[in-house]
Structures are given as C-alpha cells and as structure tokens.
Symmetry: C2
C-alpha cells in the first residue's frame, strides 16, 4: 500500500484526484489550506471528501496570503463574473494568486518527506486553466526537480513523485473519469464566492456547469 | 532603486544579505517566518535587523510546521550538541526541516510577485551547511526555473531573480564581507535553542563561534 499525499481543495478536480488515488488502493494523507481565501466553504467540502475516501489523516495548514494580497481571492478585488470562453482564455485572470500552487506544493513536499510518502497527487489541469502559469506541465516538471534536489529523501534516491492525472483532460473528461471511480461530486464546492449556494456566474462555476453539460450529466451539488 | 525581497531569519547569514542589499541601495522588503520553530528569539533579531537596514516593510508569515514535524526544530526531538566538524559533515542533521527552504522561497516568490519586486536575497550557503540539500547551487537553479515558469511575471519575461551572495563563502568570509558593509552582528541570533543567552553548543552556535575565531574577531552578540 503506497502512502500518498493528496492536495485537497474541496473542488471538483482535487476530489477526482482523491477518488483516483483511493481506487488505486493508496493510503491517503489529505492536505488542505486555509490561506485567507474569500471563504472556507471549500474547506468543509475538503473535509467531506477526505472522509468519503477514508483518508488516514486530513490536515489543514493555515497561513494568510492577505498579508500581501495580489489576487481577487486574497483581497477586496472583485471576482470576474459572466465571462465567456474567449474572455476566460484571453489572459491570466485576477483570481490568479501569486505563487499559490508553488506554496501548496512546497508544503506537500515537506509533508510527504515527514511522513515517508511516495507521491503527491494534485488536480491541476492545463486546459481549463490555460491562463494560470502554475498549472502547466513544464511548471510541474520544474517543481519535480526542486523535489529531487531540495529534500533529504531526494538526495537518497527516493524523490517524491508529483502526479497530476487531470493535466490534459477537459472538465467533461474529468467528470466522466471521476464518476467511473465513484467520485461523489455532491460533496464538492467550486464557487469562488462564499454564498449559501454557488453563484453560478464566476469562472469556476461556469467551467463546472460547462463540464457537466458537455458530459451530459446533471450536477449533483 | 530596485525593490527586493530579503528572507530574514534573524541569523548571521541573512543579516549579512540584508546589509549587502542595503549597501547596493535597494529598497528592502523583509520577510520572516514564524513556522513553529523552537523559539521566536530569532524573530526579535529579524525585527531589529529589518529596522537597522531601514526596510520599507517587514512581514512575518505565520504557519505551523509542527503539524507534521519531522525535524528537531519543529518537534520534541533533541537538538544535537557539541558536534565536531567531522560529525557535522557526516550526514543531514536532525535539524534539517523537510522542505523548509522551498516553503520559504515559495512565499518569497509570491510576495515578490505581489509587490513587483525584482530579486529575492537569501542567505543560503553550500559550505557550512553541506548537509542540507536545499542549500546547494543546483537546488537554487531548480527553484529559479520554478520562479520563471510558475508566475505571471515569469511568463511576461520578468522572472524574479534569486540572489544568494553567500553561497560559496565560509563563515569567516561571510563575517568579513558583512562587516565591510556595516553589518551589526550584535543584533543577530544564531542559537537553535531559545535560552536567554546562546547555548554555545548546538551546530549553529559552534559554526558561528568558528567563523568569528577564523576571522580573528570577537562576536559582538
């Protein structure tokens, strides 16, 4: 049984990763972040998903990126609404959080080394988030080198492997693959806002709706 | 005037970096971490150094690596004492904190991007800390690639540059270079323990004492 770290945001993508790891029979150590995001609804979702995949441990690392902001998710900047595909693909959106995935991966790498884990699963995806530099394969390869060179386990030949199964899938493909391994999407939360129900208008809600529509399935959440 | 980030631990090495950046006429944004280390004496030292180099801003990012431990600095494990040079060079010591420099650099990269800073100064050194994988030039080069590929500024051709001026110097050389730019070592704190005075017996105290001895100078702290 391989001990693995799963970066779990509570969203659709990372939940799919968690179920893929569960299906593979791995022992799951889930890691989430309370980093000063607009709301912590997604952390409730992460806890539900961690329980559903019977994670051995689920930790929440707390820090506050509002200390320097620089993103609509960590400051008072407005979240963009009602953008079509062209607008979303045009540039890096204000919801980009400077260095966020590198911070997440750095913590995951530390956690993996401390626990003797072999792999880190993360739900990054180069298609839907083409605007995010830290969701691309070349970025992931660069961080893989950091994990090899910057850890004690790496110098001993046991580099923690970064696994991004969703990297080249579109949202409909992710949903279909996720359902095939039993992912309960009713537990997940994608909306950037923190309302009682998803806003249905932010990029994240729109991408999710498009994914379920293209997969020809209803969204259970 | 170049706006730069300085990773400031409060120790001798990072203080030297801060004074080197000050001498270069840079605008200094200092960043320290309260990460669950054994004591926060070094944060008081960092605040004193930040004031001495007239930092525009000094932020302390808080998180708790005791969540998973894995080091004598973030758990109840004992700090090694009275080790000679041979023992220190023999292997990666228990004071190694899994992934710590990668976490520090990830936050610094985020801070740099949010503030529009050009450089990140860090006091890592490959000689005295030959046992730490994340203090080597090849590690730093790997993280430089992460900074190029994983940020919005990087994709726009303005990659944040990692600057490690002390990388190839020994402790005596660091102290001499630091004094040449006016570093006030009385403000710094190196000891791994959190006593009223430095223990004089941990690796960090011993390296510091050796540095001042080889430089033929008294330690003002």
């Amino acid at each position: 049984m391989t001990r693995n770290i799963i970066l779990l945001s509570g969203g659709l993508d990372s939940a799919t990763c968690a179920y893929i790891a569960k299906e593979a029979g791995d022992e799951i150590y889930a890691l989430s972040f309370d980093y000063g995001q607009r709301h912590t609804r997604e952390l409730d979702a992460a806890r539900a998903v961690a329980a559903a995949v019977r994670a051995t441990e689920h930790l929440v690392m707390r820090f506050d990126l509002r200390l320097w902001g620089g993103s609509a998710l960590t400051s008072d900047m407005a979240v963009p609404m009602d953008r079509d595909d062209t607008a979303m693909a045009a540039d890096i959106p204000v919801t980009y959080v400077p260095g966020r995935n590198t911070i997440f991966l750095a913590f995951a790498m530390s956690y993996a080394e401390a626990k003797g884990a072999s792999k880190i699963y993360l739900g990054i995806n180069a298609l839907d988030y083409s605007g995010y530099p830290d969701c691309r394969p070349e970025y992931l390869a660069a961080f893989q080198e950091v994990a090899r060179l910057g850890t004690k386990v790496g110098t001993e030949g046991h580099t923690v492997e970064l696994v991004a199964p969703l990297m080249h899938w579109d949202k409909a493909g992710i949903i279909k693959a996720g359902l095939a391994v039993g992912t309960n999407y009713a537990l997940t939360w994608s909306c950037y806002q923190g309302g009682d129900t998803p806003c249905g208008r932010c990029d994240s809600c729109l991408l999710r709706a498009k994914g379920f529509a293209e997969a020809g399935l209803p969204d259970p959440a």
